[in-house]
Amino acid sequence: MEALLATNVSKRYAQHTALDKVSITIPEKTIFGLLGPNGAGKTTLIRIINQIINRDEGEIIIFGEKLKPSHVEQIGYLPEERGLYKKMKVGDQLLYLAQLKGLSRKEALARIKVWLEKFEIKDWWNKKVEDLSKGMAQKVQFISTVLHEPKLIILDEPFSGFDPVNAQLVTEKILELKANGSTIIFSTHRMETVESLCDHIALINKSKKILEGAKKQVKEQYRSNTFIVEHRGNHFTLPAEKYELKKQVTIEDGLHASTIQTKGGIKGNQLIRELIDLTEVFSFQEQLPSMADIFVSLVKNESSESLKKHLQEV
């Protein structure tokens, strides 16, 4: 079952269209990367899913049900612009936010204790938020997002404001939540996060979805049959009608790395076969486009054709 199924969702304002018939499928128990430049419409989509604003058109189905008010209790939302009540104590604040998400007071108290322990901040209960550092407040806010054990967690730039140690801690918690059956939506610009954590991605640009799919498939979709070979000795020539040597660098004395693109749908295996006769191969690897490459070129050029061209030129 899909955690979320959006079909042709649109949102228009007087002067501009924030979302234009966006359809997205988010499989259950995955980490889904919602990518796109600033102002593309990501936040609008997230707010629509959170029912903070209403869509003008389209349908949203969450865990098999049409989006309805009671769904807010199954969703945890960490907005990009973090915010807590400054004058409220950490414990009271978490209790209040958890109760607003439908937890009973007793249940909330028990869970807050567990989470404060997980983050090793048990003694913060009576601290006011205004006395916390930015990173400390971020931890509290992260806890408030997941306290009610939401089935769908929406994290907008979850790692901003965290130092590497805490970012690692949060990453662990996110993976834990995923293992426990939650579906997680990341809205982010940080491509390393996408590369390492996301299973699926969607790219939104200028109010439209321009790319969607499993990360691996997306990468394969944009593969350019380019391979990187490390080899000893560079005195060989490949048949020019089948291969193009795009680049050759010397790694150390006698050891070279060549970037080779095949032509006419020739597979990597055939290239290896031919190379083995010509030189001593140390490693062989397909050069897949990075998410950053795909992101940048798609946003710049918008059409997939030009993307392929762009990637081939790299």
Partner: protein
């Protein structure tokens, strides 16, 4: 609904737990009995010190028989049968208030009267003394013109109008404009202040939530309208609690203060003190007479007061208190949602509170002067002015249908403003970095859900 209750609780508790709430709630009731106590204390002191000042008189004209018959509450005159120079010396050896020198003078042009004092006397005392002298000169003139003093006294008449309202049923109701005026005045002002003070608290709360960005988290759990409503009701609860504590404390402490001074009306007490000190029979009689008169007045006042329907007024007051607060509270919430700082809110605050100010001014200009005139009528019917106007007017016996209409209009009024405010609020709280003006707010209001 459960969630609105949570919001109400939070808004209520964070404010009630604040030190500033505690201070305001305790200090204000202390101030009022302290002021009452202070005033009574000063009155009593004054009554004590009201023993007459001694004025020595050197009368060369022989026309001022300012002897004991001329003594008043304030001055005790002692004639010195000696020359001025001697008198000055004699005066300097006493601690008396003053030495009055009256030379031979022309009745039509009394000149050359001098007063010698050891300290700088107050203007009030000097003018009192002057009026005594003027009166004496007048008496002398009356003698000269052969007009009897008694005849003149008879010409002077004092009339005290007793006011009676004829109700529709022909029933007579005596009323006292003074009490009604005072009540209307006090109640009207209380509503005005309450609405402004707590309205601004709503606005401040909304601005805080918006600028701290916590609002986005909250509205991912509850509807913006629920958040707005919870805030308004929660702050209302703070106001009502504070108000109740004030009433209890003030009445308790005031009773205590009055009890300390012997539970007597201060005026009566003063009279008694004064009459005890004055030996002169005439004066004593006059004072007693006045006292009897004032007792009658006080009794009448109390009797009239008991005829004022306090239960009805209290109910009406609470109703308009909450109605007015809800009506304006919603508008304050809308403004708070649109702006990003208290400073920025200034430009909107005045326009939205203008009707309230009109009601407040109308209270003085029309309602208290002419409670049943057309302007007073409309001010107390229109929901934007009625919270101040009707409460000011209610003591003057408003016809039932007018009260019902006004209440209905007020309920409709706050539902209307809450609806408008809710539509602006839901957009405003998520908008940052926009230059907001009235046009923008109208646009937000028009936006689809």
């Amino acid at each position: 609904m459960n969630k609105v209750w949570l919001i109400i609780q939070r808004e209520f508790l964070i404010r009630v737990k604040k030190k500033s709430f505690l201070i305001a709630t305790i200090v204000v009731p202390l101030i009022i009995p302290a002021v009452i106590g202070g005033l009574i204390y000063i009155m009593m002191k004054e009554a004590e010190s009201a023993k007459p000042d001694t004025v020595m008189v050197v009368d060369e004209s022989g026309q001022f028989s300012l002897d004991s018959t001329k003594n008043t509450k304030r001055f005790h005159f002692v004639a010195l049968p000696m020359k001025l120079d001697q008198a000055k010396k004699a005066y300097n050896e006493t601690k008396d208030f003053a030495l009055l020198y009256v030379p031979v003078f022309d009745l039509n042009k009394p000149d050359g009267l001098v007063i010698y004092t050891q300290e700088n006397p107050s203007i009030e005392k000097i003018s009192d003394l002057e009026s005594i002298l003027e009166e004496r000169v007048r008496d002398l003139k009356l003698q000269e013109f052969k007009i009897d003093k008694e005849v003149l006294k008879n010409l002077k008449t004092s009339i005290n109008l007793k006011q009676i309202n004829l109700t529709d049923t022909g029933e007579e109701k005596s009323s006292n404009s003074g009490i009604l005026y005072g009540m209307g005045f006090a109640l009207g002002i209380m509503i005005y202040i309450f609405v402004l003070v707590y309205g601004i608290q709503i606005m401040q709360g909304v601005i805080d939530e918006k600028t701290s960005k916590v609002v986005e988290v909250i509205v991912s759990s509850v509807k913006p309208f629920q958040l707005m409503l919870g805030k308004i009701v929660g702050i209302a609860a703070v106001g009502v609690l504070q108000f109740l504590i004030w009433i209890v404390l003030i009445s308790f402490l005031s009773t205590g203060v009055l009890g300390y001074f012997g539970l007597k009306m201060p005026q009566k007490q003063m009279m008694e003190e004064v009459s005890k000190k004055i030996k002169d029979e005439d004066v004593k009689q006059a004072v007693q007479q006045q006292q009897v008169q004032s007792n009658v007045k006080i009794n009448e006042l109390l009797k009239n007061a008991s005829e004022i329907p306090f239960a009805k007024i209290a109910f009406v007051f609470v109703f308009y208190f909450l109605g007015g607060y809800l009506l304006y509270g919603a508008l304050f919430a809308a403004v708070g949602s649109a702006v990003e700082s208290m400073q920025e809110s200034q430009q909107f605050q005045f326009p939205i509170t203008l009707p309230l100010l009109i009601g407040y001014l109308g209270l003085f200009m029309f309602i208290l002067r002419d409670p049943h005139g057309p302007v007073s009528f409309w001010l107390s019917i229109i929901p934007f002015t009625s919270p101040v106007a009707m409460v000011g007017r209610i003591a003057f016996d408003v016809p039932g249908w007018q009260l019902a209409l006004s209440m209905l209009m007020l309920v409709g009024g706050f539902i209307f403003t809450t609806w408008i405010a809710g539509r602006i609020y839901r957009v405003g709280i998520l908008m940052t970095g926009t230059k907001v003006n009235w046009k923008v707010m109208v646009k937000w209001f028009m936006l689809r859900e």
